[in-house]
């Protein structure tokens, strides 16, 4: 349970961090700078996220919070 709480806090912190980046001049560096594009990219990444780990030799997270943290970061750059 402690792990889940920590991961939840990490997700919240990540979202706040990304919101700040999106408001800054660095937001334009993202691949997906519109909300529809961001959401589509996040959906597409979640569809295939397991291979993002296996193809790079990393263990697949089993914590949904951790996966969501990865998903929002992936959505900034997933084509």
């Amino acid at each position: 349970m402690v792990r889940a709480v920590n991961a939840k806090e990490t997700l919240i912190a990540t979202l706040e961090e990304l919101a700040n980046v999106a408001r800054s001049e660095h937001g334009d560096s993202w691949e997906n700078v519109t909300l529809p594009g961001f959401l589509e990219a996040m959906a597409a990444w979640l569809h295939s996220y397991e291979r993002a780990y296996t193809n790079t030799g990393r263990p697949i997270p089993d914590d949904p919070w951790e996966i969501m943290v990865a998903a929002v970061r992936a959505a900034t750059m997933y084509e």
Binding site: N32, T34, S48, M77
Partner: protein, 333 residues
């Protein structure tokens, strides 16, 4: 089916398809009222403007009007669809593929249909865009992979067809006895378009991966798009910020309205003797047009930043899904 460059639409006979909108410009309709209603009430699409009723993987539209198996077919079944006016080569008659991921490189075979009734690909409307368009269902689930017509990674001794012709143009030796060892393909891709690389084409013996590392790849240059692998398993239909259509760029590159030399270089990296790109949409357009693309080797910092998120391919990068359209694979052709 004809491409109208003035309007940017495909004239499919009964109605026009607008790739920029990802839909037809008029409703699909049937004379039978019930069949027509079925289109509007189909829970998969909810409307009559989509290509193949919104399921291009399963359904095919040859005339912009109906697809085999749709509600528009009479009770006796659909009449055979007319062959599209295209240069798409006929599908070879192949044995059925064995099941499982391991079948991907087991040799040419006929893929098992996806879903409950998938008869085949449905992307014939793009057939006129290139000389070797292939509509595959899902390379991750099937083995109808054009790469197999070119070489067999399982046995390492089969080079034939399109790849051989392509390799010949690039001066690559495809002799079965001298090109491939140890289950890894080394050297050939690294040499394509890279220019000025080592003269030895493949490691004839020993560690092929080491040979690939020795060959290296120039920091920048031009490379045949169809020799580069995708990192992602799908891409969106537009470029950054929704600006510009990936399909339109491919079309423009194919007909000369755009020049590959004007594009930003794709960033590539080598893994196990294969060349992958971080820039999947530009690579898609280049593969679609079958052109050489400018490339640069990806800095390690960009690999570290992007690869953990982008490396989602399920077919060693030989094909990719254009989301909302279908699966494409031109690799090695």
């Amino acid at each position: 089916m004809r491409w109208d460059s003035a309007t940017g639409q495909y004239d499919m006979g009964f109605r026009n398809y607008a790739p920029g909108l990802n839909q037809f410009l008029s409703r699909d309709m049937y004379n039978g009222a019930l069949a027509d209603m079925n289109l509007a009430t189909d829970p998969f699409t909810g409307n009559r403007y989509t290509f193949g009723a919104g399921n291009p993987v399963t359904n095919i539209e040859l005339d912009g009007h109906m697809f085999p198996g749709s509600g528009g077919c009479p009770a006796s079944g659909c009449a055979p669809a007319p062959a599209p006016a295209s240069t798409t080569p006929p599908a070879p008659s192949l044995p059925a593929c064995p099941a499982g991921v391991a079948s991907r490189f087991a040799g040419p075979c006929t893929p098992a249909p996806m879903g409950k009734d998938a008869p085949g690909g449905s992307l014939g409307f793009l057939a006129g865009l290139g000389d070797s368009f292939v509509s595959l269902l899902d390379l991750g689930m099937t083995a109808a992979n054009p790469i197999q017509g070119a070489y067999n990674m399982a046995t390492g001794n089969t080079f034939s067809g399109a790849y051989t012709r392509w390799a010949a143009r690039h001066g690559i030796n495809t002799s079965p006895n001298s090109t491939y060892t140890g289950g890894r393909w080394a050297g050939a891709v690294l040499q394509m378009g890279a220019g000025g690389l080592a003269g030895g084409l493949f490691g004839a013996a020993g560690d092929a991966a080491a040979a690939a590392e020795d060959a290296g790849i120039a920091d920048s240059g031009n490379i045949a798009a169809r020799s580069v692998r995708f990192t992602q398993d799908s891409i969106g239909q537009t470029f950054k910020g929704g600006k510009g259509s990936v399909l339109q760029l491919g079309q423009d590159l194919a007909n000369g309205d755009a020049s590959a030399s004007d594009l930003p270089p794709i960033r590539v990296f080598e893994q196990d003797g294969n060349i992958y790109s971080l820039d999947n949409r530009r690579l898609f357009a280049g593969q679609m047009a079958n052109v050489d693309l400018p490339y640069t080797t990806a800095p390690q910092s960009e690999l570290d930043a992007e690869l953990p998120w982008k490396f989602t391919t399920n077919n060693e990068g030989t094909g990719i899904m254009l989301r909302g359209v279908g699966h494409f694979s031109w690799f090695g052709q």
